[in-house]
Every structure is written in structure tokens, then in C-alpha cells.
């Protein structure tokens, strides 16, 4: 991956003339005026993203405004652009866009791509529907919400690619004096078959820049896709295999020193005093800082800084949270839910009369489920390198929202946004953790105090205990069946609502009366978006309760869900595919069980069937079958990997994930007490992909996760008759 820096870019000797760049611009005065006030900083600013350039050597560079954290986004987005452009995939290069508001907010885009070019053609095709989503994702350069392919890719990369191709074709037509309709493009060549002429894109790049701008470039239909839908090899993999990939933690700044940090164990406390008499004498120590909300030691190496930090005796202020443990927090949740009763809380969706239909139901089921706090445990620990000097600041990290990180650093350094340069590396795991700015702010403050460049690395202990967590939560259900065992009443009330707002809802299930409410309860620890966010708990709550209702109806879990999805053929197909793959209904050995779960999220529909073996001392998940319909799969290999990794991450949490509190502080510290799934515990995963709607794409990063916990607990129920209503599974005894 090309990493942007102005110096590196110029230094690479990129040609100063005769090249084409194409962008998708959003400007005041366009039909999409309503975006202006939302996105522009000032009245006269225009918003512009430039997405592709063609060099004189016929290399097509896709400029990707999203960060790579192992999800394969650089490759998938480049595929979308290259396909519409009819580019030669083997010659496509990838450049991550700089963390620069100017890049998205004024004409500097051209400066970034072509510092010396006089008047590049900045294309401004009007993007059709969904422009708001697009602009948000692009403008903020935010990578998350399983958003990149379905928003940026679908609406910007493809449009830019198609526009570039049309302009190249138009340029060739005028040069060759033939109608545009007779010209085709393939493998980065423009071709006129009748005359036998063909030339590389580069030959027309300059002329293309002078063509009028296609207002609405024609996008391909799926039967013409050549690169989209193919399992193209990931661009970032070779460097990750040979070790040359640069992650945030690999930042190497001449003269940099290292900082280790420790924040008060109880959130909200401050450092009252520190005794650093030993640390002062320890090898390599340069500075010892009490920053008020944390302590830092700066030393010649990270290890020496951490050793010295460990020797510091710190006193913290008292807080209201000092006495808390997780039982007290769950007791708070219970009290709030009790108080809400039948009508309290905030109603999210309601249809029919859930209270009355429950009262009249032939069979009534009530259940309460809980999930614990979860840490992100990214394999690359939190880190940030900063250098504040002479009214400027440089920051290096791996962040999901580079523009936000840059602003956070500016605020922490007391500088303007323009005075900060933010350098983004690969992210060694993001999962939402790297959308927070805490590490950026801490490192910038330390660097400001020292005046020289400092790389701050959190210890794993700090990483585990100072996360922004997936909230613990409680959810209560009342469900009613009519005399035929049909689900007619659904009443759910749960704690918290963060993102996405539809996570607790079940619009795809046909239930006559339903009511879904939430109550807000302080949860002591900080909230952080965690892979699939609220779906991570609601997938478990909803699909466990559906299973309980099926059981109460005396029906099979798969058959019961089929009835609920009877009017949604696209959903049904996904459910049926997973069931069929798994041989649903076939006999399993004794003490083995099969469980099914179905969770649409982030625009994709996913069903999973898990098989468990309960014959040993603890549950062993042996096999998972996945059927997924994200509309259209741009890269089947990458999408399959996302389903698999969603299962790794979700199964880790379902089996073991449990952040607990004692005296207000997180008790876990490292992988011995915050377990990851081991390779021998990883089930075999089989994935079937369904292209159900090529116009409305769904995401890949998150949707693989929510079904796994309930698929497994439902399988445990099938094998043992024991219903898991509180995660993690490891808390339960199966002896």
C-alpha cells in the first residue's frame, strides 16, 4: 500500500504532466445542495474527493479513503473502481488517502495528487442516491459500520471509475475521429476494433482531462463485472507476511523516546500523588510525568519505561465508583428495568398491543438474559507516536478515523488542525477500539511536555483495564404463542441503546404485536463500539428468546423461524441455505447438538448453524455453517474471511469474554485472564455466499459476528437441555 506523505509522494517522482485524475465532487450549487451545510466548514468551500489517477506509465492508482485493519478494504474498493474503469488489475496500485480535511473540503485534492500539474480535470459527476451516507463515510474518512464497500465503494469508487473510462473513451474518439460508441476499453487500453487501433489509457490521460464531465457515468450491470465478484488477492498481504508492513506501532521517528503509561484503575479517578524515588534511579529513564489523569515514564526504550513505571507508587482520588463490582451494576440494571415496568422506558418500535396480546396468549414465556462487559483486545496494543515542536505537531498511529485523530491531536497540542500532520499506519486490529482518541490525546500531551518525539505504548495490562468496553447489558422478554404455537406477542425491554438503532428490533420476523423499549442506566465503564456494536448483545438476546419460544411451541428452531420469515423470501433463502448446508434434522451422535441463529445487520443477512460436542468437560464447537447475503459479494475470498473472523471474535467472547469489576476497577489484565480462542478450539467454518440484491450492498466486517453466540448456546440447549441465559458460556458448569 502506498502511504501518503507529501514528501514521499513527490520523492517518488510522480509525473508532473499528462495524467488524469478523477474525483467525485460534492459542491454547493449541485443538485445535492442539502449536503453543503452539513459538510462544509465555510460558505465557499467545496467538498471534493479524488479517487483515481492514471500515470503516464499506465498505472492506475486507486485512492482509498478508508483504513486497512485486516478487513481487506483497500483491495475490495480498488476492485470496484478498476472494474468500472476497465483497468488492468495487475497494474492497479493503491494509495490510502491522507488524513486531511482539505483533501475532502477544498481543491487541495488536486495538489495532493498532482503537486505540479496545472489544471487537472476534477470530475464532479453527481452521485445518485445515498449521497448522504457516502459523504459521511468519505468526508470523515471513517472506517467502521461495515460501511466502506456499501457506501464509498458502491457510490464513489465505481462512479469515479466509470467516469474516468468515459472520459478516456471520449478523448480517444476525438483523436481517432470515430464515434465513441465504437470504442471499448479493456485492461487499461482503449480499443477501436474496426480500425484495429488501440492505445494505453496513459496516451489519452491528458486529453481526457479536457473532456466534458459525464454527469452520470453509466455503471456496469453485474453480468459485465470482471473484477468485482472475483477473489482477488489482497494487496496488503505480502507485506504482512514478509514483515515489511508498517503498523501504527512501527512508527520510527529519528530521536524518538518511549513512554509507558498508567491511568487510575477506577474510571474517573485522578492521580493524587506519585512516589517516583526508585524510578528516578532506574536505567534509561528520562522523564517522569504526573499528567493528572495518568502517570507516564519516558525512557530510552519501552521496556525501561515500563519497568520504571511499575516501580512508581501512585495514590488516586476517591470516586463514586470505588465500591462497585459487576453484581452491583447488574443490580442497577434490574432496578431500572423493574421501575420501567410494563409501560416505562423509551419505546423504540411498537405494533399492535403487546401487553394485551401477551395477556391473551395461549402460551406465555418470560426470560431474562445478560451479557458482560467485553474488551477489544486488539493484538497490536494501543499506541501513538507524537512530536510537538515549533508550533507544529506530527502524529503517527493506526486510527479508524484519521481526520478525527488529527483534530484530537490538534486540540491536545493547542494547535490548529492545519498545523498537525497525521500519519496513519495499518491497524493491528480495530474492532471499534481504534475509533477512540484517548491514545492520540495522551501521546500528544506527553510529547508536548517533553518537546521531543515520543512513542507511547500501552502495556497489555493497560490495554485490558482501560478499554472503552462493549457494555454489559440485561434484556427481558415476554413472548406469547397462540393456540397453534404461532408467535403473536413480543415484548422486550433492555438496558442501553448505542448503535445501530435497529439492533434490538426484529422487523423481518412477522409478529403481530410487538413492543421494544430501552432504559438508560449508568454502566460505570466507558462505552466503546465493539465489533457489530449493539448487535453483539441483541443477536444473542433475540435469537435465544426465539429459540425458547420455538421450544415452548414444541417446534424445531429452524421450522419456527421459517414460519416467522414466510413473507420475506430473501431472508428465507439465507436461513434455508444455512440449514441445508448443515444437514439440519440429520441425527447427531449423543451429547452433540445443533443450533441455528439468524441476524440481519449492517445491511447483510446472515444465518449460522453451530454444532457442539458436549461429551467432554467443556463445550467444543466443532463446526459452523454460514449463509450470508450482503447483496453482492465484491471479493468472495475477503468476504468469507470476514465471516470467519467474525466467528473467531464472537466465539471468543461467547465462550470466555468477561470483564469483571472489583472495587470499581477492571479485574482482568492480560490473555491469561482474558482468554482468546485457541487454534484447537476453532471450529471448521463453511461459508455460502448469496448475491441477493446487487444494488443495495451490505457490509462484511460485522455481520458475521452476531449469530455465533446464540447459534452455539442454542446448540448447547439441543445437546443438554441447558439454556444459557448469561454469557460467557465458560461461567456455566456442564459436569
Amino acid at each position: 500500500m502506498g502511504k501518503w506523505s507529501r514528501r514521499a509522494f513527490i520523492g517518488a517522482g510522480v509525473t508532473a504532466g499528462g495524467a488524469l485524475i478523477v474525483g467525485v465532487a460534492v459542491r454547493q450549487g449541485n443538485p445535492i445542495d442539502e449536503l453543503g451545510p452539513l459538510l462544509a466548514n465555510g460558505e465557499n468551500e467545496q467538498l471534493l474527493n479524488a479517487w483515481v489517477k492514471v500515470d503516464t506509465d499506465n498505472v492506475v492508482t486507486a485512492v482509498i479513503p478508508h483504513v486497512e485493519m485486516g478487513q481487506g478494504v483497500h483491495t475490495a474498493l480498488a476492485q470496484m473502481l478498476a472494474d468500472e474503469m476497465d483497468a488492468d488489475w495487475n497494474k492497479v496500485q493503491i494509495l490510502e488517502a491522507p488524513a486531511d480535511m482539505q483533501y475532502v473540503s477544498d481543491s487541495i485534492g488536486r495538489d495532493f495528487l498532482f503537486p505540479n500539474l496545472q489544471v487537472p480535470a476534477l470530475l464532479e459527476p453527481t452521485v445518485a442516491g445515498g449521497i448522504l451516507e457516502l459523504a459521511q463515510a468519505m468526508g470523515l474518512q471513517f472506517t467502521g459500520g461495515s460501511y466502506s464497500v456499501r457506501a464509498t465503494g458502491q457510490r464513489a469508487m465505481r462512479t469515479a471509475g466509470a467516469a474516468a473510462r468515459e472520459m478516456l473513451v471520449a478523448a480517444a474518439a476525438s483523436e481517432w475521429q470515430v464515434p465513441e460508441s465504437e470504442i471499448t476499453a479493456a485492461d487499461s487500453m482503449v480499443i477501436h476494433a474496426r480500425s484495429g487501433k488501440s492505445e494505453p489509457f496513459a496516451a489519452f490521460a491528458r486529453a481526457a482531462a479536457e473532456q466534458s464531465l459525464p454527469a452520470k457515468p453509466k455503471l456496469k450491470s453485474p453480468d459485465n463485472y470482471k473484477i468485482m465478484g472475483q477473489p482477488m488477492a489482497r494487496h496488503d498481504i505480502p507485506a504482512k507476511v514478509d514483515g515489511s508492513a508498517i503498523f501504527g506501532i512501527d512508527a520510527d521517528v529519528p530521536g524518538m523516546k518511549y513512554a509507558a503509561v498508567k491511568a487510575p484503575p477506577v474510571i474517573g479517578a485522578t492521580v493524587e500523588s506519585m512516589n517516583a524515588s526508585t524510578a528516578k534511579t532506574m536505567p534509561g529513564v528520562l522523564q517522569i510525568l504526573n499528567m493528572g489523569d495518568f502517570v507516564a515514564v519516558v525512557a530510552d526504550s519501552y521496556w525501561l519505561a515500563q519497568q520504571a513505571l511499575n516501580s512508581i507508587d501512585t495514590r488516586y482520588s476517591k470516586t463514586e465508583g470505588d465500591g462497585l463490582d459487576q453484581d452491583a451494576i447488574f443490580a442497577r440494571y434490574a432496578a431500572a428495568l423493574d421501575e420501567a415496568g410494563e409501560d416505562g422506558g423509551d419505546t423504540q418500535t411498537e405494533a399492535g398491543d403487546a401487553v394485551q396480546s401477551f395477556a391473551e396468549a395461549a402460551t406465555k414465556v418470560e426470560a431474562e438474559y445478560t451479557v458482560p462487559f467485553l474488551a477489544h483486545a486488539t493484538m497490536e496494543p494501543m499506541n501513538c507516536t507524537a512530536w510537538v515542536r515549533d508550533g507544529k505537531c506530527d502524529v503517527w498511529s493506526g486510527h479508524q478515523a484519521p481526520v478525527n485523530a488529527r483534530q484530537a491531536a490538534a486540540d491536545a497540542a493547542g494547535l490548529a488542525f492545519e498545523d498537525v500532520t497525521y500519519h496513519n499506519g495499518y491497524l493491528g486490529g480495530g474492532f471499534g477500539r481504534r475509533s477512540d482518541n484517548d491514545a492520540i490525546i495522551m501521546a500528544t500531551r506527553i510529547a508536548k511536555a517533553t518537546g521531543y518525539p515520543v512513542k507511547m505504548i500501552w502495556s497489555r495490562e493497560e490495554d485490558t483495564a482501560q478499554d472503552h468496553y462493549r457494555p454489559s447489558a440485561t434484556s427481558r422478554f415476554k413472548g406469547g404463542l397462540d393456540k397453534d404455537g404461532k408467535l403473536v406477542s413480543w415484548d422486550n425491554i433492555h438496558t442501553h441503546l448505542f448503535d445501530p438503532a435497529d439492533a434490538p428490533t426484529v422487523p423481518y420476523y412477522n409478529i403481530a404485536s410487538h413492543k421494544i423499549r430501552k432504559v438508560d442506566v449508568p454502566m460505570h465503564l466507558r462505552f466503546g463500539p465493539w465489533r457489530s456494536v449493539d448487535h453483539s448483545q441483541h443477536g444473542f438476546f433475540i435469537e435465544s428468546f426465539v429459540d425458547e419460544m420455538a421450544d415452548a411451541a414444541g417446534k424445531d428452531g429452524y421450522a419456527f423461524r421459517r414460519e416467522l420469515l414466510a413473507e420475506s423470501p430473501r431472508h428465507l433463502k439465507v436461513l434455508d441455505t444455512a440449514a441445508k448446508m448443515s444437514g439440519w434434522g440429520n441425527a447427531l451422535p449423543e451429547k452433540h447438538g445443533r443450533g441455528i441463529a439468524f441476524v440481519p445487520s449492517f445491511g447483510s443477512i446472515v444465518a449460522q448453524v453451530a454444532e457442539v460436542d458436549m461429551s467432554g468437560p467443556k463445550p467444543k464447537v466443532t463446526k459452523v455453517y454460514v449463509a450470508a447475503d450482503p447483496g453482492f459479494v465484491v471479493n468472495p475470498d475477503g468476504f468469507t474471511a470476514q465471516m470467519e473472523s467474525g466467528i473467531v471474535y464472537g466465539l471468543t467472547a461467547a465462550l470466555y469474554g468477561d470483564i469483571t469489576l472489583k472495587d470499581g476497577a477492571v479485574q482482568q489484565s492480560n490473555f491469561h485472564d482474558y482468554r482468546m480462542l485457541r487454534i484447537d478450539e476453532m471450529p471448521e467454518v463453511e461459508v455460502a455466499l448469496i448475491n441477493g440484491d446487487h444494488e443495495r450492498l451490505g457490509g462484511g466486517g460485522e455481520p458475521g459476528l452476531p449469530p455465533i453466540a446464540p447459534a452455539v448456546t442454542n446448540a448447547i440447549f439441543a445437546a443438554t437441555g441447558k439454556r444459557i441465559r448469561a454469557l460467557p458460556i465458560a461461567k456455566h458448569d456442564f459436569a
Partner: protein, 153 residues
């Protein structure tokens, strides 16, 4: 790979971008032990007189990740090495040695130190000193001289 982007997030960014917020607070307490590039205070007081000691001091960087050398400094991954030349193996108080080292019966003469630093595991199979070996004989000599000089001062 998450977080849904909402209008709220968007507008808050723009607010931030528009007005420079106050800088985050600086240190409450800042202890500057030394400036980068300056020699460590303890070491500079005992600056080696000749080139051998200077080389030994530089070579001791191989050891600082695990060992302290100053009198009374705490044990790290390995024991404090103050006064090690001439001492018996496994005698530093409060350090959990391997049985292998503890039971080795070695007295740390310069020669014994030399073969240990050359290849700790060969000298004492089962030792938990798993890194820090120095292959270069001249460097070993220098580092031993340096360790001894610190003790002698």
C-alpha cells in the same frame, strides 16, 4: 470495523474542526531525570576513565533490559549486578534464581563471567537468562571490566 456513522458524529466533528478547543492539560508534576543524549546521571558520575571502560559501558546496554548495576537498585528480570565480580552465584537477596544457577557453585571470577556471558545456557544448562549473550570476546572483557569498575568506585 464498526460504529455507525450518524449525523451527530458528523456535526460534532465539524464543530471541533471549526473552533480550536483548549489544549489538554499539561503535567501536574514533571520530573526531568536527564535530557535525551545526555549520559545517565549515575553512570556519568562514574564515567569510565579509559577506552576499555567506555566500550564496556556501551556493551552493558545488552544487559540493561534485565539488570541494574547501581548499588541498591532493584532487581529486574535478572538480579542487580552490583559487586558481582568475585561474588558467589545466586546470592543477590530477593531474586528468584533458577535452581540450575543457584546450585552451580560458581564464583564469578572474570573468567567464569566470560564463559557465562559468552553462552549462558552452555555454561549453566537450565539458566533463565535467555538473552544478553555477547559473542565478541573483546566486548565481554570490556563489559566485565566495566561492571567491576562500577563496583570498585
Amino acid at each position: 470495523m464498526l460504529l455507525l456513522i450518524r449525523a451527530a458524529a458528523l456535526s460534532s466533528l465539524i464543530v471541533l474542526a471549526a473552533c480550536g478547543a483548549d489544549p489538554a492539560p499539561g503535567p501536574v508534576e514533571q520530573i526531568i531525570v536527564r535530557e535525551p543524549g545526555a549520559a545517565a546521571a549515575v553512570a556519568s558520575a562514574e564515567a569510565p576513565a579509559d577506552a576499555l571502560l567506555a566500550e564496556g559501558k556501551a556493551a552493558f546496554a545488552n544487559c540493561t533490559a534485565c539488570h541494574t548495576l547501581e548499588e541498591g537498585a532493584p532487581n529486574g528480570v535478572g538480579p542487580n549486578l552490583f559487586g558481582i565480580v568475585g561474588a558467589g552465584a545466586g546470592e543477590v537477596a530477593g531474586f528468584a534464581y533458577s535452581d540450575a544457577l543457584k546450585g552451580s557453585g560458581i564464583t564469578w571470577t572474570a573468567t567464569e563471567l566470560d564463559s557465562f556471558i559468552a553462552d549462558p545456557a552452555a555454561k549453566i544448562p537450565g539458566t533463565t537468562m535467555v538473552a544478553g549473550a555477547i559473542a565478541d570476546a573483546a566486548k565481554r572483557q570490556a563489559v566485565i571490566a566495566y561492571i567491576d569498575s562500577v563496583t570498585a568506585n
